[in-house]
Symmetry: C2
C-alpha cells in the first residue's frame, strides 16, 4: 500500500471531525460544577438528547434552551436594572417638579414599597415611562452602556458585568456545543440585557425575550427611528414567560433554567416539562451566604414545584465549585471565597 | 519529496475550506436570476459586507436580513392564509348560528369588502377570533398542516408549498452562506408561516415575526398549554414591522426585502436603509402576467419610495430566469412558462 493511498480516508475522518459540530458532553465540560446530581443530570440529558440512536434524541433544529436572567445567569442582589432605573428617576426628579409629583416617583423617593406591591407591574411601567418614554433604541442602549461602564456592585466592588455566574457561562457553552440554541427569557427589560448578552453569555440580542414598553416608529430627518412610548407592552414574568416564548419562538423548549426567589420561573419550567420528548429543568437555589447570597422565597413555591414536577434543584453552595469568574475576586479583593 | 509529505498541507487546505463558513458570493450563486442590475447589486453588496478589509464590512454577528413573506417569498395571489381562514369561518358558520350572526362573519359571507376596508385590522382580528380563539399552539399547527396537505393553488394547480419563488430560495441561501441571519417579517400570522418556514426557506420558526392573537397559558391536566385568545396582539404590517423588529430582535437589519402591492414593506425597507453601514433593500415588482401575476399598487407608493430612497426594484419579468422551482410547472401541467 503506497502511503498516499490512505489519504482519502484520512481526509474524510479529519474533515468529518471538523463538520461534526456536536461535542460529546462530558463532566469535564463543566469544570466549575462539582460532581453531584445536577452535573450528572445535565451531562446525562445532553448525551441522551444528542444520541441519534437513542429514544430521547432531539433533532438538532428543535434543540431549544431558555434561561431566566436575574438570579440565574448573574446575581440579582441588588437588582441591577432597578438601580439603573432608580438613578435616572432621581436625576429626572431633581430637575423637574412635574416628574416629582408622579405617584410612582413619589413612592420610589419615599421608599414606599407598599405602593409597588399593590400596583404591581403597572407601577414598574410608570417608572419606565418616566425614564424611557421618547428614547430611541440607540439612545437607550447608550444610557445602559454608560451606566454599566461605571456602576460597581455594592459588596463585590466589581462591575456588574463581572457578576455573571461562571458555571452558567460554562453550561451555556456546553448547551451550544451540543447543538442547542440558547435564549434568555428575563423579567427585566429585553433591551437592557441585550446590551451585554453577547459579551457575557454568547447570546445575540435576537435571542433575548424580556419585558418591554410599547414602541413606535418616528421619522427623524430622512431616517426612521424606533422610540419607546410610556405604555407597558409586556411584563415578561410568571405565566407571561411561556406565553412570550410561544409568541416569539413558536415552539416549546425542552430545556428551561430559572431560580427561586419570586416564583417567576415556575411557569416556564413547567412549560418545558410539557415537551413531548426528553427535557431538563434546572432551578437555582440561592443558599450560599458566604460566596453569593442566601435567600428564600416567602411561600417556597418554586422549590415545592421542583419537588412535585421533578425539576433538578441546583444548590450554589453544594453544586458550584466557584460562583464568579476568577477576575471577580481578584478585582473585588474582599470578594467571596471559593467553596472547594 | 515523498507523496505523504504533502499531507499536512492538503489537510489544512481542505479542512480549512470546511471551516471557512463564508462562501464568496458570485453571480453563479443565483442561477435563477438573470444578469442585471438587481443581481449585480446583491452580489456586490454581499462582497462588500463580507470583505473584512473594506469600508463596508459588517461583522458576522451583525449580519441580519429580513424578508416579507406574501408576494416576496411566495405568490400572494390568492392570499393563502385568507383562504385558510375563510374555509374555517364558513365551516363554523354552517354549524353555529351564533357565529353566523357576528358582523365580521356576515360581511365575509356577503363578500362585503367595504366592511373590512373600514374596520381594517380589527376586522381581521374578529375573523381570527372566530377561527382560532381557544386553540392551543399544537391544535393550530395541526389545522394549518392539514389545510396545506390538500389545498391547491387555483390556477397553478399545485400545493401552495410549491409556489415559493426559486430565486428567493437561492437568495436566502446565499445570504446565509454569506453569514447573514435570515428572518421572515410577515403581515400574516407568524404561527401560520412557521409551520413551513424551515421546509420552504430554511428559516426556523424562531426567526419568523408576524401578526398574532394574544395568547394565554392554561393548565390541561398536569401539562401547561399556550392557547390563543380572541384579541389581536399585533398586526405586523407597515410601521408595525420595524417596531416589531425592534421589540423582537433589538437591532436594525441592514438587509430588507419586500414587495409592492399595499405599501406594507416601505417602513421596513426605510428602517434598513437607516443602518449605519452598507445596506441593501430590494422591492419585488409583480409585473409578469405570463409567469406569475401582474398588479400595481393603487397609489404607487412603494415604487415611489424605491425611487426616492434608492431601493433596488426587482422585476419578476426581467430579472428572474424562472419564478417557481421546476416541479411547479411539471405538476401543474398548464403552469406558467419560463422566461429565458
Amino acid at each position: 500500500m503506497r502511503p498516499h493511498s490512505r489519504l482519502p480516508l484520512l481526509l474524510v475522518l479529519l474533515c468529518g471531525a471538523a463538520f461534526a459540530q456536536v461535542e460529546r458532553p462530558t463532566p469535564d465540560s463543566l469544570p466549575s460544577w462539582k460532581d453531584g446530581a445536577p452535573k450528572r443530570a445535565i451531562v446525562d440529558f445532553l448525551r441522551r438528547a444528542t444520541d441519534e440512536a437513542g429514544p430521547d434524541f432531539i433533532p438538532r433544529g428543535a434543540r431549544l434552551a431558555v434561561f431566566d436572567h436575574d438570579g440565574t445567569l448573574w446575581s440579582e442582589k441588588p437588582a441591577v436594572e432597578g438601580i439603573f432605573v432608580l438613578e435616572r428617576v432621581k436625576a429626572k426628579a431633581a430637575k423637574d417638579p412635574a416628574v416629582r409629583s408622579q405617584p410612582a416617583v413619589q413612592a420610589l423617593l419615599k421608599q414606599d414599597l407598599a405602593y409597588f406591591e399593590q400596583r404591581g407591574p403597572e407601577a414598574v411601567g410608570e417608572l419606565l415611562a418616566v425614564t424611557d418614554a421618547g428614547l430611541s433604541d440607540e439612545q437607550y442602549q447608550a444610557q445602559v452602556r454608560q451606566f454599566l461602564r461605571t456602576a460597581r456592585h455594592p459588596t463585590l466592588n466589581v462591575s456588574y458585568l463581572a457578576t455573571a455566574y461562571a458555571p452558567m457561562q460554562e453550561l451555556l457553552e456546553l448547551m451550544r456545543n451540543s447543538g442547542f440554541q440558547t435564549w434568555i427569557v428575563t423579567g427585566g427589560s429585553a433591551d437592557f440585557v441585550r446590551t451585554f448578552s453577547q459579551q457575557l453569555y454568547g447570546i445575540p440580542p435576537e435571542q433575548v425575550i424580556g419585558s418591554s414598553l410599547r414602541k413606535e416608529l418616528v421619522q427623524q430627518g430622512n431616517r426612521s427611528v424606533v422610540v419607546r412610548t410610556g405604555e407597558l407592552l409586556t411584563l415578561d414574568d410568571k405565566a407571561q414567560k411561556p406565553v412570550n416564548i410561544s409568541v416569539r419562538m413558536g415552539r416549546r423548549p425542552a430545556v428551561a433554567v430559572g431560580n427561586e426567589r419570586s416564583g417567576g420561573d415556575v411557569a416556564m419550567l413547567t412549560y418545558a416539562k410539557g415537551s413531548k420528548g426528553a427535557s431538563l429543568q434546572l432551578l437555582i437555589d440561592h443558599d450560599d451566604a458566604k460566596r453569593e447570597f442566601s435567600y428564600d422565597e416567602p411561600d417556597g413555591a418554586s422549590l415545592a414545584a421542583a419537588r412535585a414536577q421533578g425539576f433538578t434543584v441546583v444548590s450554589i453552595q453544594r453544586d458550584w465549585r466557584m460562583v464568579y469568574a476568577a477576575g471577580t475576586r481578584a478585582v473585588g479583593g474582599s470578594g467571596p471565597a471559593d467553596n472547594p
